[in-house]
């Protein structure tokens, strides 16, 4: 592949000439912006690392596996596992619900719905994405929490109580409630980005499938979806990123309990929620421990993103659009 520089600059010109032409200015300016992104990322990691040095040294890897979080200065024991667990569990619950819903809705909006209806619904979905998270949290406290406590929770316990995941006590707040709120918060992103990806599939692809005798669903399922796979996966990871980092709505409904519970109906805690709750009044060791948790969250997000990249590289086949 030819490099863009070679195309735009067929021969070497004097510096003044190149600057006057604007190409060089644009080149320098944009490379500056691009480097800035890298610098900010590196700087964040550096700062997190420096602030959390005291606990990094003190606890080492036992920080990751530790299950006790005791900020009392007489004890000062810090373990991240309950919060890593809570963050992952709520995000997984959220995706299990929002991915089928979101992708399904996106297929309807781009492939099946009438243009007018599709436009209205898309507008509403984008509106949903813009609602501040504290509002989702408040709404959940007043509607979802009582519903979970009085109906959904007892129902799940009755029929699935034989598994370790749906056992009493039922508080209304907890992992499942937080996961549901996150599902509602992530699925506008998934719909919106997936729909864009589906719309970007060339019309010829659909026409060719239909011409070969495929039904509309066969065309959608076998031609359009694989073509747009990359965009859809991208939307899922965008949603996951929001779920992992969401703070306000989660802390309002998860119960803020620093112990690990297997039951999804029980209460838990996420990294972001704990940091938001405790950082303001944090003690001398507690502060660095909280910053180290941020570092853990950062690494988790990076690993997940890297995993996503790997998955895309491994599964991308000829028929689909490339990044």
């Amino acid at each position: 592949m030819a490099s863009p520089a070679a195309v735009t600059q067929p021969r070497k010109k004097a510096l003044s000439e190149r600057l006057r032409g604007g190409d060089m200015v644009a080149y320098l300016l944009t490379i500056f912006f691009a480097t800035l992104i890298l610098l900010v990322t590196v700087y964040i990691v550096y700062e997190l690392w420096m602030y959390s040095l005291p606990t990094l040294k003190k606890f080492g890897f036992s920080f990751i596996g530790g299950q006790i979080w005791d900020p009392n200065p007489d004890k000062n024991v810090y373990g991240a596992l309950p919060f890593i667990y809570g963050t992952l569990v709520t995000s997984i619950v959220a995706l299990l619900i929002s991915v089928p819903l979101g992708v399904g809705a996106a297929i309807y909006l781009s492939e099946l719905a009438e243009q007018k209806l599709s436009n209205i619904l898309t507008f509403l979905v984008e509106l949903l994405a813009a609602v501040p998270s504290v509002i989702y949290g408040l709404l959940a406290i007043f509607t979802l929490v009582p519903l979970m406590r009085d109906y959904i929770g007892p129902f799940l316990e009755k029929f699935l109580g034989w598994t370790p995941f749906f056992q009493s006590p039922i508080y209304g707040t907890g992992y499942l409630t937080a996961g549901l709120v996150l599902a509602v918060m992530t699925f506008p992103f998934i719909i919106s980005v997936s729909r864009e990806a589906l719309m970007a599939v060339p019309r010829e692809q659909r026409e060719a499938a239909l011409a070969l005798g495929a039904t509309q669903w066969e065309s959608t399922y076998q031609i359009v979806l694989p073509y747009a796979k990359l965009g859809i996966i991208g939307s899922v990871f965008l949603g996951l990123a929001r779920a992992l980092g969401e703070t306000m709505a989660v802390t309002m409904v998860i119960g803020n309990d620093t112990h690990i519970h297997a039951s999804l109906l029980n209460q838990g805690y996420t990294i972001a929620a704990l940091v938001a709750n405790e950082f303001n009044e944090a003690g001398d060791v507690q502060g660095p421990a909280l910053v180290e948790l941020c570092l853990v969250l950062f690494v988790m997000t990076m690993l997940i993103n890297a995993g996503a990249r790997l998955m895309i590289t491994l599964t991308t086949s000829k028929g689909s659009a490339r990044a």
């Binding site: 209304g172 309002m252 405790e278 303001n280 009044e281 003690g283």
Partner: protein, 336 residues
């Protein structure tokens, strides 16, 4: 072009004009619990001394101490007195000035029970340790004869954020329960053995309101202003006392004041004393370089102790006992 410059200068001078109306700006930060009365006091003080503007940011006791230590504020405020270690980190030694008193009450949601229930220190510790699990536990029933306690599990609610309220509450529990002291201890954030966490006083109160058969702790002030029911707590003289402005001041009067005003009044003696009470303090540097600031703070403290105290109970804060006011007025002379 000149027109814009003229307009610009006019705008700048207008801002300069508002700044000069209060030519002395004093910044303080700390405890959230006394914020309403502090704001009231600062605005009343400004009305009497228009040249002094005191700004107060309610960012929490711990954060207030942090800012005072870093020297970014002129004074701090806290619901817990500073430890020797914290005082050692200060460049300029700070003096503690108690301002008002507060209390922590246990608020609960028991459908069908309208009179205040009775609780003892060991029972409260048992509930928050998770040892007492049901409302009709024999230990609760023993102090609530004739009350039809429901056979329901107790849902414990505590603060999820670090808080002076939690500090007072856990300090009290450490005094009345050896188990609590060894397993959990005293701090503004602890490893709660059971229960759900609510963010802020309003978060705890909201969770209690929402969950039948729950119990949590909030400031007396908040409970009163939001008309929450709360329990009578047994004090060290074996009396069940309802928290009120009077019973909190009585708790302060029952404890001998120390020279540096760093004293805990939880589980204090005195027949009418409410046991989960506390002072809240202003932390004033003992040496203030700026003569104007020094005079303003001294004037404020004197005004607060003599005049400000009278307005406290109207805002549901317990005023200081007269003896404490007298010795604080003497301490003002230590500000150099």
């Amino acid at each position: 072009m000149t027109k814009f410059v003229v307009i610009g200068l006019a705008v700048i001078s207008a801002f300069a004009g508002t700044a000069s109306a209060a030519d002395l700006l004093i910044n303080g930060a700390g405890a959230t619990f006394p914020e309403p009365i502090y704001q009231e006091w600062f605005s009343q003080f400004k009305a009497a001394n228009p040249s002094v503007q005191i700004n107060y940011q309610a960012i929490g006791s711990g954060a207030g101490i942090k800012q005072l230590t870093e020297g970014t504020v002129d004074f701090g405020a806290s619901d817990k007195f500073m430890s020797d270690e914290q005082l050692g980190k200060l460049k300029v030694k700070a003096l503690h000035f108690p301002t008002v008193l507060g209390a922590v009450v246990l608020t609960y949601n028991l459908p069908g029970i309208n009179t205040p229930i009775n609780l003892t220190g060991p029972v409260i510790a048992g509930i928050f340790l998770g040892d007492i699990k049901m409302w009709n536990d024999a230990k609760i029933a023993a102090v609530n004869k004739g009350v039809a306690l429901p056979a329901k599990p107790i849902i414990v609610v505590h603060r999820s954020d670090g808080s002076g309220t939690s500090f007072v509450f856990t300090e009290y529990l450490s005094k009345v329960s050896a188990d609590w002291k060894s397993k959990v201890g005293t701090n503004d954030a602890v490893n709660w053995p059971v229960g759900m966490g609510g963010k802020g006083t309003a978060g705890v109160a909201g969770l209690v309101k929402q969950n039948p058969y729950s119990i949590g702790y909030v400031e007396l002030l908040y409970a009163k202003q939001n008309k929450l029911g709360y329990a009578k707590v047994e004090n060290s003289s074996k009396q069940f006392i309802e928290a009120s402005v009077e019973s909190v001041t009585a708790a302060a009067a029952g404890v001998k004041m120390t020279d540096d005003f760093r004293v805990s009044i939880t589980n204090g003696s005195g027949k009418a004393a409410y046991p989960i009470s506390t002072y809240t303090w202003l932390l004033i540097p003992s040496k203030i370089e700026d003569a104007g600031k020094k005079k303003a703070l001294v004037d404020f403290l004197t005004w607060m102790l003599k005049t400000g105290q009278k307005g406290a109970s109207a805002k549901d804060y317990a005023p200081l006992p007269a003896s404490v006011v007298a010795s604080e007025l003497k301490q003002i002379a230590l500000i150099k």
